[in-house]
């Protein structure tokens, strides 16, 4: 059994001021959570998620910041640069939750291509994840030399063209942004469904699984780990978190059958846990103890109220029982997750510029 990892969503419908997001991220940071997520699509009302978490970065110190950035109608080069920049401004706390835009409505906002099937779009998302890592590696960590004797700011032998050719795009490289502090910011994929799961197995550092039962979550985790092996990865480099909606509003609901101690139930919005913070702590401890998942990603139904109860109730109890960190021993998101800084693929392979 590895360390327990906890993450929370800070989504707030119809909230456009920075302060509210800063408050929630700080609250989550007080609980020592690994990271917060902020979801995004071009179709739902709301601000650009990566921008919001960039605004949050200077006002937080340790917590990981994971915005959703879609890959269907965006430019891979811009996306990787923005994620790398979030990593720079947060000093190594950036993640990136990949998602795709499947609707014709989203396609019409851009007018460049038609809607496509999720399978094809997740295939492309995998290519974007791949080229992003190549571009992050396109500068070796010590490429900047400032060598006065030769007048060279840069050792250009330590910069690399990526010459990536995907099914629908190509990128020459190198990136405009030097290699970010984590090497590769943490890539997160919701692996609940079909093709997304293969993309997660191949590229994700963290996979989210919306599952109403421990058995289901565990089965998906096993599948992700074995597919990761097929892709030549060490399965221990992949964290699998169960993703639940949580409603900690009314203590009395915990007593109802099917809630609280009875575990989450499936709803139209996804698996929902409704009950008290203490019972949620029990559930987290139980699923984690038997190795079903590496941790949890929790989306409060009522953002502020439920996050407060999560941190002050559930997390405090898990800490008290020695199951969750009481402070951040590391400073980067990779360190929180127990993931090493990846080797630079161009250094490893000796790839020529």
């Amino acid at each position: 059994m590895g360390l327990l990892h906890l993450a929370a969503a800070v989504d707030q419908p119809s909230v456009h001021d920075a302060g509210s997001y800063v408050d929630l991220a700080r609250l989550a940071e007080r609980g020592g959570l690994d990271f917060v997520t902020l979801d995004d699509t071009f179709a739902r009302p709301g601000l650009d998620a990566l921008a919001v978490l960039s605004r949050v970065a200077p006002e937080t110190g340790r917590i990981g910041l994971v915005p959703t950035v879609t890959t269907t109608h965006t430019e891979p080069f811009h996306v990787q640069a923005a994620v790398a920049t979030l990593d720079w401004i947060s000093r190594g706390r950036a993640g990136w939750r990949l998602d795709v835009s499947t609707t014709e409505g989203e396609a019409r906002l851009f007018g460049r291509r038609h809607a496509a099937a999720a399978d094809a779009l997740w295939q492309e998302a995998g290519e974007v994840a791949d080229v992003a890592a190549k571009l992050w590696d396109s500068w070796e960590d010590d490429a900047e030399i400032r060598d006065e004797a030769t007048g060279r700011f840069l050792d250009r032998d330590k910069l690399h063209y990526v010459d990536f050719q995907g099914a629908s795009f190509s990128v020459r490289g190198p990136s405009i942004v030097p290699r970010p502090p984590q090497g590769h910011p943490v890539r997160v994929v919701d692996a609940t469904e079909g093709q997304a799961r293969r993309t997660a197995a191949q590229y994700a550092d963290v996979a989210l699984v919306r599952a109403a039962s421990a058995a289901h979550a565990g089965a998906v985790r096993d599948q992700l780990r074995s597919e990761a092996v097929e892709f030549g990865r060490n399965p221990d480099d992949l964290r699998v978190l169960a993703s639940l909606l949580v409603d900690l509003g009314d203590g009395e609901h915990a007593a109802e059958p099917g809630h609280g101690g009875g575990g989450p139930r499936q709803t139209a919005q996804g698996p929902l846990y409704r009950g008290g913070p203490v019972d949620l702590a029990e559930l987290i401890a139980a699923w984690h103890a038997d190795g079903t998942v590496d941790g949890f990603h929790l989306t409060p139904v009522e953002p502020r109220r439920d996050l407060e109860r999560l941190v002050n109730g559930t997390v405090a109890l898990l800490q008290h029982r020695g199951l969750f960190r009481t402070f951040y021993p590391g400073s980067t998101l990779r360190e929180h997750l127990g993931l090493a800084k990846p080797a630079n693929q161009y250094v490893v392979t000796g790839g020529a510029s």
Partner: protein
Amino acid sequence: MTAGRKYMHLAAHFPGVNNTTVWADPRSKSQIEFSSFEHLARTAERGLFDFFFLAEGLRLREHKGRIHDLDVVGRPESITVLNALAAVTERLGLAATVNATFNEPYELARRFATLDHLSGGRAAWNVVTSSGAFTGENFRRGGYLDRADLPHSRLRSSGGTPITRATEFVATTRELWDTWTPDGVSRPFAHRGQHFDIAGEFTVPRSPQGYPVVIQAGDSAEGREFAASTADVIFTRHGTLEAGRSFYADVKRRLARYGRTSDDLKIMPGVSVVLGDTAAEAQEKATEIRRQQVSPQNALLALEQVWGTDLSSYDPDGPLPDIDPVPESSITQGRTRRGDTVAIAEKWRALSREKGLSIRQTVIEASGRQSFIGTPEAVATELDEFVQRDAADGFILVPHLTPGGLDEFVDRVVPLLQERGAFRTEYRGTTLRSHLGLSDPVWKG
């Protein structure tokens, strides 16, 4: 404020990526770390500047087929940095350069509206376009770029007057910013033009400024016209007082055609400033900075850019080449062309002969000195004169050092400008539009 005296507007350009940023100086620090951006932005805000300006890079420059390695290079993505700077500043405007060629209106309108919300109304967009397949190699759009994207091009004819992608791009983003009523109701949009055919719903409510401020950089006739029709600020080249007055009059004259007044467009040349306790000391410092900016290697590179061929065997401390430049050379990629290279080469040779200068000395001499050199008093007086005599509405300062390059100006020149009644002593408003004295855009429902 003296009756009739114009207030000057000031902005700061992050030194960043170019051959005027000196990296071989013990005071030069990271161009990537957030702390450098924070230091410069906080300094600009301490000096009550209107805005802080970030340039953009989309492809590393190349020279002789290899990545150019002599200048500061590598930078974070601008809008993301500005969102973070919004957390550590309160009033300072935040301007990002973003290319209209390799972006789409919906996404960019959303990103700027978001920055405007998160900063409480301080966002600005410097609109640029890219001409090229070289940069395009990094982008999806690069694969099907056509000449319609070029500023001077004839466009796909679909009836009516052809317009550039940049013009339609900005107009489209403003349509998107107008889709929310001031009282918060979202309505669907549909735009069908020569470059964009899009429809749907814009998902960000009207931002504090209504429209983020639009900046146009460049002095060409097309650029002036675009600025007159569309921009709130024009970022121009600095020259003599007379050249400035002529440019200023020309651009302001164009405004009426678009139903705009002289106050609707601010003219702000990019300038560099060198200060000293005496005029002589300032001159000495200016010369030393020029020597730092033009290293021996950089001198040869500048020469190769003009001659269009490999001159690495030449001694930077020796005489200029006798051979003539290679016309139409593509030796350098990713930077603006130098124009008529044969004429430039002849001019440089003449300069070298006349003053007995080496290659490096010639490049230093020919490639321009700093804009304002002198004591704080002299510089304040001269800056004010440019503004009072209608050669500029203000200045975009381009420091040569990261991150301390603005400190001295803010500490020594700003107070003098304030004493003269030439610059604000406090921020009156909270938005960038209020700093610039721009009216709020009328909502076009």
